[in-house]
Amino acid sequence: MKTTLSWLKSHLVTEAPLSALVDRLTMLGHEVESMEDRAASLKGFVVARVVSAEPHPNADRLRVCRVDAGKGEVQVVCGAPNARTGMKGVFGPVGVTIPKTGTPLQESTIRGVASRGMLMSAAELALGEDHSGIIELPADAPVGASYASLVGLDDPVLDIKVTPNRADCLGVRGIARDLAAAGMGRLSPLDTTPIEGRFRSPIAIHIEDRKACPLFLGRHIRGLKNGPSPRWLREKLEAIGLRPISALVDITNFLTFDVNRPLHVFDAGKVTGDLTVRFARRGEKLLALNGREYELDPEITAIADDVGVQSLGGVIGGEPTACTETTTEVFVEAALFDPIRTAATGRRLEIISDARYRFERGVDPAFVGPGLEIATRLILELCGGEASEVVVAGAAPDWQREYLLRPERLAGLGGLHVPPAESRAILETLGCTISEAAAEHGGSLRVEPPSWRGDIEGEADLVEEVLRVKGYDEIPAVPLPRETVISRPAIDARRRRAELVRRTLASRGLTEAVTFSFISSRVAELFGGGKPELRLVNPISAELDAMRPSALPGLVEAARHNADRGFPDAALFELGPAYRDDTPEGQLTVAAGLRAGRLGPRDWRQPPGEPDLYDAKADALAALAAMGAPVDNIQTADDPPPWFHPGRAGALRLGPSLLAHFGELHPDVLDAFEVKGPVAAFEVFLDAVPLPRAGRGKPPLKLSVFQPVERDFAFIVDRDLPAETLLRAARSVDRKLVSEIRLFDVYEGKGLPDGKKSLAISVVLQPQEATLTDSEIDAFSKRLVVAVEKATGGTLRS
């Protein structure tokens, strides 16, 4: 909402300086987003008379002018074709800053003739595009006067952010009223004296649906002449960014912004029969004032004459009945339209208008008549003619309501003690009607908000009004009392372990990324997603139209982007959501990561390897270990989902629950992303890991005093045998004696039969009762060999 300082002062009698008004507005909840002082850039430019304009002795196109700017005559060389003796123009003396270039004007010599200033074009003053000639001012413009004040540009423009609840402040008067309540001046009276009608309006009005349009007032004005508005009106509209069109149109715009009273003016000569507010009929059309034609339907509130729809109530007028230069009679409409319907119509037809903006926020239901009177007075004043009696359909809705304000609520809710008399005074200046409540309410005030404050809906709003005007600065800040001396943990076990996963993965060299929750459907399908219920109806782009089934696609995309930028070695992870379905339970928390390119920098000690499935498995298991998952009980299976390499990926499970996928991504997936492989990736499903049972501590640690013994065994087994089969068999030989089994070598090739491999394990035996004897060790070794050979079908490698 824009206004100028002088416009504001037309409603507010104040001595306060601009900066004080701006500060107070902001602290009243009307944030001043910008303050544009258009005069600032025009400082120093003054009205001057061209005393003489003679041809330049050395240049055909130049003139040597003697200019009087009130401080003696100055010689100026000018190239403008319209520079001539006796004219008045805008003079820039040496030293002023030229707005267009931002550089100071310097004394110069042009083709041998000295020039001490400039006669300015509109373009040079950054006031327009026109650089065909210098600005010509009226003959009565006073020489030496400031150009900015001459043309009304010395009036700062304020852009005020009006919150959606304060429809009343969508008019300058509403803002002035708030400032007056805050002690920044006095609200000037507004002349809304009814204008007596001279005749009966030939156009009658009707309302078909009182909900869509509770009240419709109208008035016929004849014998008028439409033309350009006077300067004061044009300047006001231009200052807030509106284009003046004609007096009739400008008056409606003026009332919209001045008193928040949108109006419409029909060219009565183009209206056939009466005007009726009714729902549009299917198939009806309207060519609107914005030049576009709209197809209407029965949800839309229309104003129609005998021919058809002529205007969309509260949204936009129609071209066929629009006022033009030749209009001589009008019908002025002042009505109330239902906010919800107005909003719906505007949204469906995608029409944004000042009227819609106001009606959908709610205009003052008691100001329809007064608004019409102001409009009538202005039309008669600016266009002449005579006005009919006011015709009325419907009635103003019942807006009166009353709330109790208990004095103790100011302190109890607002945190500030305000004496009841002061609360009362503030509310009264805001337009509320106040009376003492009955004795049983102990000093409470009965407050009836004014008609323009539909946003006040209860006691909390009244508290806000008082605090707002008092100033939030007055409220003493109080520390939030502590409930316990030492605060309880802010995060629960679930979130705590997620944080451990995050920082564990980062410790392992993976860098955390945050990628969008939505990806393209095409990619979602590659990762087992793309369900119709997870597709956005209104995505910002087709590439971001599906909720991601996995966090991996975003990371693969990120790896690609980094490679494109010349950084192909990416180790990334993300801890975030994956969406299985549209229920709250379908939103999983996952930790996904990948390693692409080389595993590390090139180094003289150890050349970096390429990532493979075992890197991914290690990352996944590290994440699971960080969460406290029972890592020793996790089973690895070779059944990865289809976006992984079918032979070089797997799944980690705990009983029936899937904890993670890991492995190298499928080459088809890499092709789809145009990423160079291999890419080792994992995805851990955090919610699938059981939470530790509360309150269960660890058993006491028992350290053996006897030396542990380590023995190595190598077995020749079939190449396809899963190592886990061998390890499981070895582990089960003597769970009490064996403290650790480690697979330390896998060998295939020379020295072994085809289709075979050698797996070597080291077994640590930890006796608890006595040092192991050689024969005990031998006995254990035999049992282990038998058990492993039996389980694997392999043989001990000698």
Binding site: L536, Q587, G600
Partner: protein, 366 residues
Amino acid sequence: MEDADRLRDEVLGEISRAETPDALEAIRVAALGRRGRLTELMRGLGALAPEARREAGAALNAVKDVIAAALAEAGDRLGRAARAAQLAGERADVTLPVQTGETGRIHPISQTVDEIVAIFGEMGFVVAEGPHIEEDFYNFTALNIPPEHPARQEHDTFYLPERPDGSRLVLRTHTSPVQIRTMLAQTPPIRIIVPGRTFRADHDATHSPMFHQVEGLVIDRTTHMGHLKGCLIEFCRAFFDVEDLPVRFRPSYFPFTEPSAEVDIGCSRKGGELKIGAGGDWLEILGSGMVHPQVLRNCGIDPAEYQGFAFGMGIERVAMLKYGIPDLRTFYDSDLRWLRYYGFLPLDIPSPVRGALAGSMAGGAA
């Protein structure tokens, strides 16, 4: 006993001239070995009379001790020389570069969330979370934003397909629905903080279709606007680590709070550089207010009995301000150079007891 003395002198001479451990060993064998000269002399003692044997034996033992000590000393000397000679040949190039096994980085959003949680945790708040795919009721209606409310259009909501019953799920446009879910599930007192992803169909230099917010909610019998101010002033000063940071509360409007306040912090923009602190200028950082009585009623809480405040702020925004990150969109670019530069070390865990909430930025070599 001239023999013994001469032997001693000779052997000590040899020892002092020995240059290698092998030569020394040969001297030891020649003197003290089974057929060594001293051993032979010892053996000869048996032929002497007891008186003379005792005397001669003592003298020989003394000689033996002297030789043994000299051998040990020479052994040490030669050992040290040998070790020194060996080490002299073992010189590595200590200037060769090494790999420090650099860790990854924590994303600034995660770090900022942890910082915010650490501060509010101190004030007794606990973290709550909720779904991103949300019902219209939780995201709007229960928050006092009925279907035709103008505030809805400002939310640029993402919609999911219409369901058979005509309803449409939305991507939550703010973290506020978690307020509703919490109030419906718990009885006051409530103090929660809700960090999380939020979504709006808007994409330009200062808007991302996905961003993060943190929501706070306090509900009890006595919390008023003064507490709101106290709590948020504490937060702003702790978060930005500026003790005298000016914090300003300005009336505003949110459908779900009444009274409502926008919160600004002090800053200076001198020389085009933004600095947080007392500087005569203001920067808006969060929205807040007392929970609207209608919202309490919508959650089955009696506004005559309970009241409290709520607030919300953009996590990227405060992270940008605190860490001088210029562009919102870069948060989701996953550019490794950016992540290394603005990201945090994994062990840099925000905690109020450690002083500054975030130790130092990892920054440095990319």
